[in-house]
């Protein structure tokens, strides 16, 4: 449904997007991750036809955005960064305008506007000027606008930015409900969101794709993945450390603030062995659990925020 091939964009001396390629199929929710300024928004702007690409191609449902822009834009719902809307209009008149632009009229226009307003819970603010709405409602107006024509491809730039936890939950639920019939791309830097709703995550740094996979596969790239966290007193930790180092499959044991972290060799499941060994000796173990690796850590490692060693030496949250 979405195909991007070698997309590049340069602003003056800065290469904002550097040969980015990916595809998104129906039913997929792609989480587009990256630090601020990594090129997420620029890629989305090129995909939606707002910015022309310097190199490469992007197509929506088979329509090339550069050569068949109108056909491609018809298939596309896009919420730009910050959910811009004409602030002197009311959500009702704004959504009617969008419905007109999408070619709906009469009863169908009415029902489309009502449906989009219902999906995003805008019903009771429909007659208030958009400039008087709170940030959460403004964001929902932006979302309603993108959903109005029930597009096959949905591109949302930071859909939950600035929302409170309840609103975030609603928006995520909405995205999940729509997911089976659409190809959805969302950009975000909230990593729990990726774990919650995305079937695939793509990490971009300095304009390049540095990782592409399911959230679980990305988590596995953390140096802490597969390791075991043991919470215990410091004296117990000192006692256990040399013992655990001898367990098969253990790469290293680190003493942390609240206990121990046992690092596994790649692709080794050491949980059972470590648990048995630890229980034999120590008496005051408060908690023992296997670490899956946090997406945050992988993100920081891949985007240059921290090295693998730094992440290893951090105590588990």
């Amino acid at each position: 449904m979405i195909a991007i091939e070698g997309l590049s964009k340069t602003f003056g001396p800065i290469k904002a997007v550097d040969k980015v390629s990916f595809e998104v199929a129906r039913g997929e929710v792609l989480g587009f991750l990256g630090p601020n300024g990594a090129g997420k928004s620029t890629t989305m702007k090129m995909l939606t036809g707002f910015l022309p690409a310097d190199e490469g191609r992007a197509s929506v449902c088979g329509f090339d955005i550069a050569t068949q822009p109108i056909a491609a834009k018809r298939k596309l719902g896009y919420m730009p960064e910050g959910a811009p809307a004409y602030s002197d209009m009311t959500p009702q008149s704004f959504l009617s305008f969008i419905a007109d632009m999408r070619g709906f009229s009469g009863a169908e226009k009415k029902s489309r506007v009502a449906r989009a307003a219902d999906m995003t819970n805008l019903r009771h603010v429909l007659e208030q000027p958009i400039e008087t709405l709170s940030r959460g409602y403004k964001r929902r107006v932006g979302l309603a606008q993108a959903l109005l024509h029930d597009p096959e491809v949905l591109v949302l730039d930071e859909p939950t930015d600035g929302l409170d936890p309840n609103q975030k939950h609603e928006v995520r639920q909405l995205i999940q409900e729509m997911a089976p019939q659409k190809a959805i791309v969302i950009s975000t830097h909230i990593l729990e969101e990726v774990e919650a709703i995305c079937s695939r995550a793509l990490i971009i740094a300095h304009g390049r794709v540095v990782a592409d996979g399911t959230p679980a596969v990305l988590q596995a790239r953390s140096p802490r993945h597969g390791g075991v966290v043991i919470k215990c007193s410091l004296s117990a930790a000192n006692e256990l450390a040399p013992l655990l180092r001898r367990v098969a499959g253990v790469a290293d044991v680190k003493i942390e603030l609240s206990g121990l972290f046992v690092q596994a060799l790649p692709d080794m499941d050491i949980f059972d062995a470590v648990r048995v060994a630890a229980r034999q000796r120590a008496t005051d173990i408060k908690e023992i659990r296997q670490e899956r690796g946090r997406l945050d850590d992988v993100f920081r490692m891949l985007t240059g925020g921290a090295s693998g060693a730094e992440i290893l030496s951090q105590s588990a949250a």
């Binding site: 822009p69 834009k73 809307a85 007109d100």
Partner: protein
């Protein structure tokens, strides 16, 4: 075409959604009245025509038209709605034309609301209504040309004040290019052809040509070309600057 109509309607409604339209219309009518009756000596002249009324239109437009046009694109760029507008199924050229037509239509409404002058002069005497009609058409086309210039400069910057000042200066150049102030500057060294070309760019001279009553085709074509040229530049500037 449908998309163009929709944007046109939204834009025109947007003028009336804010006090801008009402403030503009009231000031435009008050100023035309003041200029016609006091500076133009409408009554003292004792002639049944509207020439003192139309005489000041270029100068009024110079001040007021950039005030309509300044927000046209700079506001879209500042608020980010340009990204919304240009990712809807419509071409940048359609967006430029729709916005321009809405502004031109708004200027036309303001101009049409000066009809009490026409009634007054018809009540007081027997004016040549053909001349008055031609002058209205000329004034409308001149307003469109000022608007096209203003729209073009509005696409150049996110700052409405800069857009206003730039368009007012360029409009001024077109307004005064027929006067001795400008022509004397060129007569000394430029060839007569160049001087004539510059003087023929004058909005005032072309407006006067139309106001004489015979709908001067050359001048109508002149204003039409100015609009086409600046709207074409407008499309280029929108594409060039939209993302900055």
């Amino acid at each position: 075409m449908n998309a163009l109509c929709t944007v046109f309607k939204r834009e025109l409604a947007a003028y009336f959604a804010t006090p801008l339209a009402y403030v503009f219309i009231v000031i435009f009518l008050a100023l035309t009245g003041a200029l016609t009756f006091f500076l133009g000596n409408f009554f003292e002249r004792g002639q049944a025509d509207l020439s003192p009324f139309f005489l000041f239109h270029p100068w009024l437009y110079l001040l007021l038209v950039p005030a309509i046009s300044m927000r046209m694109w700079s506001e879209e760029r500042k608020s980010g709605t340009i990204e919304l507008l240009l990712t809807l199924p419509l071409t940048p050229a359609q967006a430029v034309i729709a916005k321009f037509l809405a502004a031109w239509c708004f200027a036309g409404i303001a101009l049409a609301l000066t009809f009490p002058f026409w009634i007054t002069v018809n009540y007081l005497g027997k004016p040549d209504n053909g001349v008055i009609f031609a002058s209205y058409i000329g004034s409308f086309f001149m307003a469109g040309s000022y608007l096209a210039i203003g729209a073009c400069f509005s696409a150049l910057t996110k700052n409405q004040v800069i857009a206003f000042v730039l368009s007012a200066v360029v409009c001024l150049l077109f307004t005064v290019s027929g006067t001795s102030l400008v022509l004397n500057f060129f007569t000394g060294w430029a060839s007569p052809g160049v001087v004539e070309a510059i003087s023929s760019l004058s909005f005032t001279a072309n407006f006067e040509a139309i106001s004489k009553g015979v709908l001067d085709v050359v001048s109508i074509v002149f204003f039409g070309s100015v609009m086409a040229l600046f709207l074409f530049a407008n499309v280029l500037l929108v594409n060039l600057y939209k993302a900055r």
